[in-house]
Amino acid sequence: MKPVIMETSGLCVNYGRVEAIHNVNIRIREGEIVTVIGPNGAGKTTLLSALMGLLPARGEVKYQGHSTLGAMSVDALVAKGLVLVPEKRELFGSMSVADNLLLGAFARHRRGDRDHAKTMDEVYAIFPRLAERHKQEAGTLSGGERQMLAMGRALMAKPTLLMLDEPSLGLAPLIVKEILRIVVQLKSMGVSILLVEQNARAALQVADYGYVLENGSVAVENEAKALLHDPRVIESYLGLGGSHSIAA
């Protein structure tokens, strides 16, 4: 068994006075792609925000053996290689593609790393499209290019664990395929990945292990290959009524 890189136990998150995430236990091992799938509103983005330290949470989150809740700030986590590509991408719209990428290396720059040019070439090798557009303002990119830039910017931080929030959101099937191909490529480069997706089949096809989140709790968890054919996954998405006929 490969060592665990991140683990949560009894994680609960409140939005105001409402519990949005309830008693979630997930585990990510080094070099794995773990996916969290589930219908809209299941709490997937909330879960990632809590893991990243953006939202206050209860329970325990261990990253590389350290308890993070209340002890590590967002920038401390980024400095330790935990990087989130958020659902809304959160690019710096009026800055160039190259500047966006450079800022991805900010945490490493503070630590004293100065190999940004080399890292940027590596990112351009993965996303040749970004190299073509390096001078363009991020705000003028198309949806697919934005997602690539968001991922490229995260890669500039040389992440140990990369968390992707709905990378397929709003993208056409061909681009989704391309993005997922790159996710697999990143895994082969040794990056551990937590992939949060609504697009369940696509996510399960590339993942090693999967969790199905429903109403803020883990409803099902299993090897990704097994989940791919689990009727309960379809039920959680398309409802009971039609699912049997579809699954049959």
Binding site: N40, S142, A200, N215, Y237, L238, G239, G241, G242, I246
Partner: protein
């Protein structure tokens, strides 16, 4: 509110003490308490402006100056009676505040305080430089106020004028906030929602701004007749800043926070001015330093000011008795004519919405008929909420045509569309978390009332108010929230808050109901109750268009389903057709390619 008995006693004791004060207290104390009353009146205006309306003004001192100079000039130079000058002052203040409000109130939050600094300074320099107003020397010899032949010359006598004015202002303010227009004011910060309920937010910002200016003007009038002398100094920007301090430190969200803030700041400054030089034995504005430091510490610890803390302490000292309240029955409100069952209510024709280069909706078409539930589904990011915003006028369409009840509405604002009988809920709940469930729902009935804030300040709106609240209570009961009428919205789970949004929409007596993810966050039984309610509304002839992700819910309820993907039409049909449509399945779960 719940502890009426105990808090009433405290209030009575406070008022009694206040009434006795001029009879026993030293002159020095009477003077301070007089000033507290004057300050509190201005701060009360800021509570309305800042705490209720979310607007910030540094310039209130200039309005105080308008009131003071108007009476000083007109009584001394033209021999007018103080009561006449009060009216003139208020008229001038109305004109000036409307003009300044027109310029600044459309601006976003941070421009307003800066703008108020600008005219605050300008008016101050004008007071000091216009020769007719006595320049920096000011105007003296202002006559005392005369009430039914009784001359109120002494500051002990004037004490009652000041405090009765202040208490009247507090009571009328509280009355006003507890009414149809008051509820609209309390929701001003949620502008999109408020406009979608048919409320003209700019108008209410103006009204709040004007009332705050009037309170300041009256405070200035009182000041001039208390001092019998005015010069520009008390109307400077510095004093304007101090008023805002009083409101924020006291607690800008509560009416009594103004009084408490004025009291705390006045006594603190007095005390610091007395004691610091003795303690430190050096000259310097140490009271400013200590005052500034204390302010920083207080705001770090208590962002909502001191009054809420005081209430909490009070709640511990005198535990509140829970009191049940009821909504008084009243005549039902008149309803609008319903369209014939099956007739077309809404038609969307080739609607396109672009955000810059991004096409969020591309040539969408749909129709909704009276007495049917139409469901709009599609994966996350398909553009469903965008289409909702186009239809409800929250964010109008770029191209295409939308007809509602036969009228073209694609160029109308959400406020106008609401008036035509369309009402909606929001994907992200937009409720005032501090208001009760009943009050939140009553916002929806805003367009069904007529009484304005002046009438409500004097309680001339009670009959209509009863009818509005009765309607709100009725709709809430229908939605299964009858036991939560007097709970604050913030205390409800998110799922129930969504239901409050539906009840609020129903309060407007809509022809078409737009619901954005009404079932999200509901438990199984709650979902079933919601489906039953919507089916019942359909039975009554209402047209319902809903966006929903819970397929059990959609498939069990909808008459027709329209599926969107990437901002475009993907499929339309009966629920069972959609459930077996392979294109839909692929859109949701992703393609299977092996």
């Amino acid at each position: 509110m719940a502890a009426l008995l105990t808090s009433n006693r405290v209030l009575i004791a406070f008022l009694l003490g206040l009434a006795m004060l001029p009879l026993f207290a030293a002159q020095f104390t009477v003077t301070i308490v007089n000033y507290i009353g004057l300050y509190a009146l201005v701060a009360l205006g800021l509570v309305l402006l800042t705490g209720i309306g979310g607007l910030t003004s540094f310039g209130q001192a200039a309005f105080v100056g308008l009131g003071a100079y108007a009476t000083a000039y007109l009584t001394t130079r033209h021999g007018m009676s103080p009561w006449g000058t009060l009216i003139v002052g208020m008229v001038i203040t109305t004109a000036v505040s409307l003009a300044l409000g027109f310029i600044t109130l459309r601006l976003s939050g941070h421009f307003l305080p800066l703008g108020t600094i600008a005219w605050g300074i300008s008016l101050y320099f004008i007071f000091g430089n216009v020769q007719a107003l006595g320049g920096h020397g000011g105007i003296d010899g202002i006559p005392p106020v005369d009430l039914f032949g009784l001359e109120l010359g002494s500051s002990r006598a004037f004490f009652y004028v000041i405090w009765i004015t202040l208490l009247a202002a507090i009571i009328t303010t509280q009355n006003m906030l507890d009414s149809r227009e008051g509820r609209a004011m309390r929701c001003l910060r949620a502008m999109t929602m408020t406009e979608a309920m048919g409320i003209n937010t700019l108008r209410y910002r103006m009204v709040l701004f004007m009332i705050a200016a009037q309170f300041a003007c009256v405070s200035g009038w009182l000041y001039a007749h208390l001092q019998r002398f005015v010069n520009p100094t008390p109307f400077s920007l510095g004093q304007g800043i101090e008023y805002l301090f009083m409101a924020v430190l006291g607690g800008a969200s509560a009416v009594w926070g103004a009084v408490f803030g004025a009291t705390a700041v006045s006594f603190l400054k007095e005390w610091l001015q007395d004691w610091l030089p003795k303690l430190l034995g050096a000259t310097g504005n140490f009271e400013m330093v200590v005052f500034g430091l204390l302010t920083i510490v207080v705001l770090h610890r208590a962002r909502d000011g001191l009054w809420p803390i005081l209430l909490r302490v009070f709640a511990i000292v005198a535990p509140q008795r829970q009191q049940m309240r009821e909504v008084e029955p009243a005549l039902p409100l008149p309803r609008r004519d319903a369209p014939a069952p099956g007739s077309e209510v809404l038609r969307v024709i080739e609607v396109t919405k672009r955000f810059g280069g991004l096409v969020a909706n591309n040539k969408m078409n749909l129709t909704v008929r009276a007495g049917e539930v139409m469901a709009l589904i599609g994966p996350n990011g398909a553009g469903k909420s965008t289409l909702f915003n186009c239809i409800s006028g929250v964010n109008p369409a770029t191209e295409g045509e939308i007809r509602f009840m036969g009228k073209r509405i694609d160029q109308l604002g959400s406020r106008e569309i609401a008036k035509l009988g369309m009402s909606r809920s929001f994907q992200h709940v937009r409720l005032n978390q501090d208001m009760t469930v009943l009050e939140n729902a009553a916002i929806g009935a805003h367009l069904r009332g007529r009484k304005n804030f002046v009438q409500s300040a004097w309680r001339l709106d009670r009959e209509e108010e009863r009818r509005l609240l009765w309607e709100a209570a009725h709709q809430l009961q229908r939605c299964g929230l009858g036991e939560h009428l007097f709970d604050t919205c913030g205390s409800l789970p998110l799922g129930k808050q969504r239901i409050v949004e539906i009840a609020r929409a129903l309060c407007s007596d809509p022809t078409l109901l737009l619901l954005d993810e009404p079932a999200a966050g509901l438990r199984h039984l709650e979902k079933r109750a919601l489906a039953e309610l919507l089916a019942k509304l359909r039975g009554e002839g209402m047209a319902i268009l809903l966006v929903e992700h819970d397929m059990d819910f959609v498939m069990g309820l909808a008459d027709r389903v329209l599926v969107m993907e990437f901002g475009e039409y993907l499929a339309e049909g009966l629920p069972q057709e959609i459930q077996t449509n392979p294109k839909v399945l692929e859109a949701y779960l992703g393609g299977v390619d092996e």
